[in-house]
């Protein structure tokens, strides 16, 4: 056996490398960077307008991030596998409509509506995943198709009118109520935000601590090598799409509960905002890297921007332009930083 070369890597190097890897690894640095950008934005808007830092406004930002944040978590899983999910927006709507079918059309109890939304999401994910894994369709195409299928089905089921949840008591508490406010009256954080954070922590744990998470990164890193390691690649890939779909179901409940109605025409465009949040959060579209924390920060950057620009009375048309420019800038800066490493 060749003796391990101790000259090249001495003990000091070893300590330094693991320390650096843990605290200043590229992913940690990315989160730090995204977080810093978020703070800078908030400080900027805070100085620009006193209205921005009002508790009411901040709660509004939290509330408005919930739906996009949840969708972005779903997208994060798929994007880490080097895939893309264009169906999350319309799927969210279709899930909301299905909840409406159970609760308003059929007058079933609340929990069936919750289950229906999540199951609908999972089913759609099962289809997308099967198309990608078994039929070898590019994820872009498979989920583009599913985006239209979900959009169409939502309109078929609901017609062009919204389904209201006025018959279901407590439906709006899913999103609007405040469990935290119940315990700590001074902190009336809406449930939708609580759900976003619980989901984020859970998703983060799944990514870093479970076999599913490990395979998610592995598929994005080198799918063929994973297959040749004897791993059932197709099954895991489908599982990931199912999970992403189920999370879209949660987003569907959140938005329906906030509007107290399922709006069948809503939804398209949300998928791109979700992808933007993921990308601003430092997840690479080529797969293999990414974090949920980054995604959440990315989602907050998007809503702080929208909110702040509105408070500064920037016309809505220009808000959209600025958001586009920020996405391009954020990813470009990320690329610059990576090149330096």
């Amino acid at each position: 056996m060749v003796e391990p070369n101790t000259a090249a890597i001495d003990a000091e190097d070893r300590v330094a490398t693991t320390f650096r890897a843990r605290f200043f690894g590229s992913i940690a640095r990315q989160k730090l960077f995204a977080f810093a950008s978020l703070i800078v934005l908030m400080v900027f808007f805070g100085f620009a307008s006193p209205a921005f830092m009002q508790v009411e406004n901040l709660l509004g930002i939290l509330q408005s991030t919930a739906v996009n944040g949840v969708l972005a978590i779903a997208s994060t899983f798929v994007i880490i596998t080097a895939g893309i999910d264009l169906s999350v927006g319309t799927l969210m709507t279709f899930c909301a409509v299905m909840a409406g079918v159970f609760l308003t059309y059929w007058q079933l109890p609340l929990w069936t509506g919750v289950l229906a939304a999540i199951a609908t999401g999972a089913m759609s994910g099962l289809l997308s995943g099967t198309f990608v894994a078994k039929l070898k369709l590019p994820p872009f195409i498979a989920t583009l198709g599913m985006m239209l299928v979900n959009k169409g089905l939502a309109l078929v089921v609901a017609g062009d009118k919204p389904i209201y949840f006025s018959d279901t008591e407590n439906f709006s508490t899913i999103s609007q109520g405040s469990l935290i406010g119940y315990v700590l009256p001074s902190l009336p954080v809406p449930n939708s935000v609580l759900i976003l954070f619980v989901l984020a922590v859970a998703a983060s744990a799944v990514l870093s601590r479970t076999a599913l998470g490990r395979y998610t990164f592995a598929l994005g890193s080198n799918e063929e090598a994973v297959r040749l390691s004897g791993v059932n690649v197709d099954r895991w890939k489908i599982t990931i799409y199912v999970l992403a779909g189920a999370i879209c179901g949660v987003a569907g409940l959140l938005i329906a509960s906030r509007l107290n109605s399922a709006q069948p025409a809503l939804g398209q465009g949300y998928e791109l905002e979700a992808i933007a949040a993921v990308v601003i959060g430092g997840t690479s579209l080529s797969g293999g890297t990414g974090t949920v924390l980054g995604t959440i920060i990315g989602a907050f950057i998007m809503s702080v921007l929208t909110n702040g620009l509105r408070i500064l009375s920037v016309p809505q048309e220009w808000q959209i332009v600025v958001t586009g420019v920020i996405i391009i800038l954020a990813v470009y800066i990320d690329i610059l930083r990576r090149r330096k490493l």
Binding site: P4, A8, T17, T210, R214, V226, L228, V231, G288
Partner: protein, 503 residues
Amino acid sequence: MSPLVSVQNVSKNFPGVRALRRVSFELLAGEVHALVGENGAGKSTLMKILAGIYPRDGGEILYNGEPVNFVSPRDAQMMGIGIIHQELQLMNHLTVAQNIFIGREPPGRWGLFLDEDKLNRQAQEILAHMHLKVDPRAIVGGLTVAKQQMVEIAKALSFNSRVLIMDEPTAALNNAEIAELFNIIRELKARGVGIIYISHKMDELKQISDRVTVLRDGHYVATVPIATPLDTIISMMVGRTLMDGVQQPLLLASRGEVALEVRNLNCGPLVRNVGFTLRRGEILGFAGLMGAGRTEVARAIFGADRIESGEIIVRGVAVSIKSPADAVALGIGYLSEDRKRFGLLVGMDIASNVVMATLARHLKFKFVLRQQTIRATVESFIRLLSIRTPSAAQEVRLLSGGNQQKVVIAKWLARDCDILFFDEPTRGIDVGAKAEIYKLLRSLADEGKAIVMISSELPEILRMSDRIVVMCEGRITGELDRKGATQERIMQLATQREKAMAA
């Protein structure tokens, strides 16, 4: 004569690794200068600095006596320093001429359209100059690897390169093709081109090079004339006298029980009616030329490619293997010849790679990873195989080729596979690490594992195998036991095209 290139005290650091420390090196015009050293010695790093791919952290580079500072590969190329990478950098869907002149297409009418005719003419001139019979209009993806390599060389020469760096140029070539390559090298040499030649194959270096520079662990060791005895050069590379560590296997006919039997296997044009038996405790060598179908046989048995027909019998039971997952469940492991594409997740850490085939064993509630057992397993393999790394959390892409190979081996050892296919296990691996891998293969066989070793290096086949199967054009043309096997006999079988056709 003043040197064409003079590298002085160049240093380079990567995260966690000092790749080069004050290395110096000189290249004369018209010289073939070999650069040798174990994997991770810093050869490729040094060359990438010279070719403008990596910036250097310290030191100077003189070119024609002038200090130079290349900021990009293009910069170096324009100055006349060309590099041919181990992994070819060609666009497979474009033609030969389009590849050679990519980015420098001659403008045609109004400067708007490309002048394909002129492009092809210019390419033809360069190819003719190299005495190369390749159609400039041919699509590169359809050429043999050897021809593709010639296209790379033609591309480098089209810049009027005065320095040509070749990194393991013969790794994928057969003997005839190597001879062809050497002819071209000699011609370039006569024209005054300085050639830096990186290779692990000592016999080739003896044939083609003038001087040898040895690197070890990022340090410059010495520059010696090629006439220096091989043992001396190797001992400079490894920093000790190399014992020929591996014992020849005992001449016992291996009489273990049959682990794997294959009958009438068919899978595409390169696997036709293949049949053989593999016993426990033996190493079965698969010899043949490039493209003889050995890799395809392994992939078919492993379930990576769908078989058309044939029987596979594992430990006496006929099985149906439809995917690598099925094969792995039966205890079959496959180490690909192309580690980066088929064996490793280079962007992930060592730990994830080692447990990739065994993740199910490291789960709580069938779901949650057990970080402690993963760490313990991985660290035991890092020690067992002497994987040179600062930690188990190191990304695999930062390891040298030999250490990457060890990570793949660790993956399959962790899986306790008892039927192992090693496809070119020592490709791109230096002499010292080679001996280690030979020892490892032998000790695995001694433990009762059944091993198939695919190799294009005849000395390796002869030294390691208990029995040898020879393939030619998708068919098995002969089987030799170690007593009857000679290089000549194997080559004879490996080139029996008629028999292969008739069979």
